[in-house]
Amino acid sequence: MVDMKNVNVHYSSGVDALVDVNLHINDGEFVFIVGESGAGKSTLMKLMMRELTPSSGRVFVNGRNLGTLKGNKIAMFRRSIGVVFQEFRLIQDYTVYENVAFALRVADSSNKTIRQRVPYVLNLVDLGPKAKHKVRDLSGGEQQRVAIARALANDPGLLIVDEPTGNLDPKRSYELVGLLKEINRCGTTVVMITHEHNLVRYFGGRIINIDKGSITFDEMIGGSDYYEE
């Protein structure tokens, strides 16, 4: 699903954000990417969604070499993945329904598909009853779920989630990761970027730690029943 080979990212400010990163994520995996602020997690995410191209090395997602994508091919690629941002990035003037439908319209879906798909993904994140609410009237947790629904709208093979719990209280954070695990069980590859080690310990799975732009740890760990507030 995701393949990075000898990837280096050097910013014009002089910072080496990623240094010789090699990474392979299989279809259907759930991967936590952890690390301190400034470690290179967001750069990794930007590479996966083709917001950034590496200074050297190659990035493949779904078999596509992202470095060679140009113009509308970038747009087409982004339709095949789902991305959830820490700050949600929803269109505040739109309703919940419109925000999710928008991702489908962008992918040139028919009205019939939109009418069928939007209620389905909204029910998946338990927001069906709030479809007609304006996004700006929702709580942080609800907005995060709208963002997940939007990311799932086009049935992506890969879901990239950036610090989804950053604006949530601990209880909502655990619920949200539980939801992402459910989505993963349905076959979607999930890459979740976080710096909350408690969450990672609780759920377990494949953990990749980044420090100063390099992968320092890449192991499977078991989850625990210890729920830490």
Binding site: E51, N72, A75, M76, R79, D93, V106
Partner: protein
């Protein structure tokens, strides 16, 4: 792109005008002022051209027929007919009029008053007035070449042409055209700069929305379409409003020149173009230029926010 999505984007574009009312109103106002200035300038040009043509039409060239004592009456008549034919066939001339010696003397007497009116009859050797043709040069810029051609007609003794008048008029026309085109160019450039800056402010306020569209996989065309429609719509509204205001201003000025006729008529202002003659072309031009300015301003302003 599917038709349902195109319809959706067009609707979004139109509804954005009301949703972002303050910014739309700012764009509308700037476009309105720009289009109004351009419309008024264009009307000024059209009318000044008409006035110039009216003044141009007053040029009169006098062609004097050679008066030879040795020729018979029949020969003289043939000569006059030959000149008349040559003048009438000359495509650069119009309004060919013949003035006989008698008519010329009569005109002179009428122009004089009192005892001077009889002076013409006291000249030894009879009526001294020459036989004349009066003609008008169609294109005053070519007056010298046209007059030279007339001078070469057999039987023409002399040609009197208003060269100074023609020179002054040609110079005035050239200077006016230069000033007006410079004004128009400056107006259009200033309009584009001001309009695109105003729209840029509007697009800047919505940069977040644009970046979200990019992140979910929207193509540049998909993102631009509603903004393009919005720009066009505001442009058309501004064009229509500018047309209405131009109508009002123009009719006020038109009444001023046409109701108090005497003084203005003398200056050639009597034939100003009535607004009714320009109503539809001007409405169309205002709306089309408005839509183009609005759409171009929006799309140009957007490009920098599409690089995500």
């Amino acid at each position: 792109m599917r038709s349902n999505n195109v319809t959706y984007l067009i609707k979004k574009g139109v509804s954005s005008v009301w949703k972002n009312f303050i910014m739309s109103f700012a764009s509308f106002s700037i476009l309105l002022v720009s289009l109004l200035q351009v419309s008024v300038t264009v009307l000024l040009i059209l009318n000044v051209n008409i006035i110039m043509s009216n003044i141009e039409d007053t040029n009169q060239v006098a062609v004097f027929v050679e008066d030879s004592e040795s020729e018979s009456e029949e020969q003289h008549q043939k000569k006059v007919e030959h000149i008349r034919e040559a003048l009438t066939n000359n495509e650069d001339l119009t309004d060919v009029n013949y003035i006989s010696k008698e008519d010329a003397a009569k005109k002179w007497s009428q122009a004089m008053s009192g005892p001077s009116a009889d002076l013409i009859n006291m000249v030894p050797g009879g009526n001294p007035m020459p036989e004349t043709f009066t003609v008008r040069v169609k294109n005053i810029e070519n007056i010298r070449a046209t007059v030279a051609a007339v001078q070469n007609i057999e039987g023409v003794e002399q040609v009197n042409a208003p060269y100074d008048f023609a020179n002054s008029l040609v110079n005035i026309k050239k200077t006016f055209s230069l000033i007006v085109f410079a004004m128009l160019a400056v107006l259009i450039i200033v309009s584009i700069v001001v309009v695109s800056n105003t729209i840029r402010t509007s697009v800047f306020a919505r940069r977040n929305e644009i970046s979200i569209m990019k992140y979910v996989g929207a193509t540049n065309g998909f993102i631009k379409l509603p903004f393009f429609v919005e720009g066009c719509f505001v442009g058309i509204l501004a064009g229509a409003a500018s047309w209405g205001l131009t109508w009002f201003i123009y009719n006020s000025v038109y009444s001023l020149f046409t109701e108090n006729v005497t003084a203005w008529q003398m200056l050639g202002f009597s034939n100003l173009i009535p607004f009714e003659n320009l109503r539809l072309p001007l409405l169309l031009a205002n709306c089309v230029v408005g839509a183009m300015l609005g759409a171009a301003g929006t799309v140009i302003s957007m490009n920098r926010y599409l690089k995500v």
